[in-house]
């Protein structure tokens, strides 16, 4: 049914069942990817309520269009492509009600990015993430990235997708993924340095250490 299939073991079977009319099988098929669908949506629209709407619309669209899925890509990549497109559409709809476009800054990708300061960072304990304060700060830092950087950052670093998958989902080149990821990571470091280097880990105030 799927020559050169990229599908996981049971996915081909589940897709066959869905095409035979078993709706439960579709739920089983998409269930492992719900979190990814939601994270992809929120990386574009930012707001949790809009992200849920987008995520659910995307899943329903995947159901209606399952006949067009050819398994030349992974099922997850196809599903996230649909999600990304839905999210972009949602963003356009929201914006059409506003006079001013929000968060549409398309930063230049030619100029070099200079990290802001250089205080020493030690490796940090992963339990840090358990703290609400830390998680909120990371979310805020992620939200403060411009959209094009945030999308790449969420797909690559939050969801651990490959450069190639990220490029396919966003419809950009692998080179563009790498450049945007670099900017996003450096900006995230700049924003989070005071917490991670200072108050979160050792309870002390962050001391900037600039080389010049």
């Amino acid at each position: 049914m799927f020559p050169q299939s990229q599908l996981r073991d049971n996915e081909a079977e589940l897709i066959r069942s869905v095409r035979d009319g078993e709706r439960e099988a579709f739920y089983e098929l998409v269930h492992p990817y719900e979190r990814m669908v939601y994270a992809t949506a929120i990386s574009v629209v930012k707001n949790p309520a809009d992200a849920e709407e987008v995520a659910q619309e995307a899943v329903l669209k995947a159901f209606s269009n399952l006949a067009t899925f050819r398994a030349e890509s992974k099922f997850s990549t196809w599903l996230l492509q649909i999600t990304y497109n839905e999210a972009r559409m949602k963003l356009r709809k929201v914006r059409s009600h506003l006079y001013e476009a929000i968060d549409d800054s398309q930063p230049s990708e030619d100029a070099d990015y200079w990290p802001k300061d250089f205080a020493d960072w030690r490796p940090i304990p992963s339990e840090l993430f358990e703290r609400d304060e830390v998680r909120r700060a990371i979310q805020n830092a992620t939200n403060s990235l411009s959209r094009t950087y945030r999308e790449v950052f969420v797909l690559r670093d939050v969801q651990n997708l490959s450069t190639k998958e990220t490029a396919t989902i966003l419809g950009i080149s692998e080179g563009a993924v790498k450049i945007r990821l670099l900017r996003a990571r450096l900006q995230m470091r700049d924003t989070l340095a005071p917490g991670i280097d200072g108050s979160w880990v050792n309870g002390q105030e962050y001391r900037k250490a600039r080389p010049w």
């Binding site: 939601y38 309520a49 969420v154 939050v158």
Partner: protein
């Protein structure tokens, strides 16, 4: 042959590829030589690695409560 020196700006341009292991062995060697003598770039490297480590466990975005149930219902309700 001696390792060719590299500037801080060049290091920053490649730091993300370095973390992902997507650079040539020569570039890796040049960058590692640089990190040994440049505390600032080493701090940028460690900090960036920490960011990637912190966000990479998938828990950054909590799903809204009841998401699954609502989705399941919608799938059931499809024509």
């Amino acid at each position: 042959m001696a390792t060719i020196e590299i500037s801080c700006a060049e290091v920053w341009r490649e730091i993300s590829n370095y973390l992902d292991g997507e650079i040539s062995p020569e570039m890796r060697e040049r960058m590692e030589a640089h990190f040994k003598v440049c505390a600032h770039c080493k701090a940028v490297l460690d900090g960036t690695r920490n960011v990637v480590g912190l966000v990479g466990d998938g828990r950054l975005f909590q799903m809204p409560e009841g998401f699954n149930k609502r989705l399941y219902k919608k799938i059931q309700g499809l024509p």
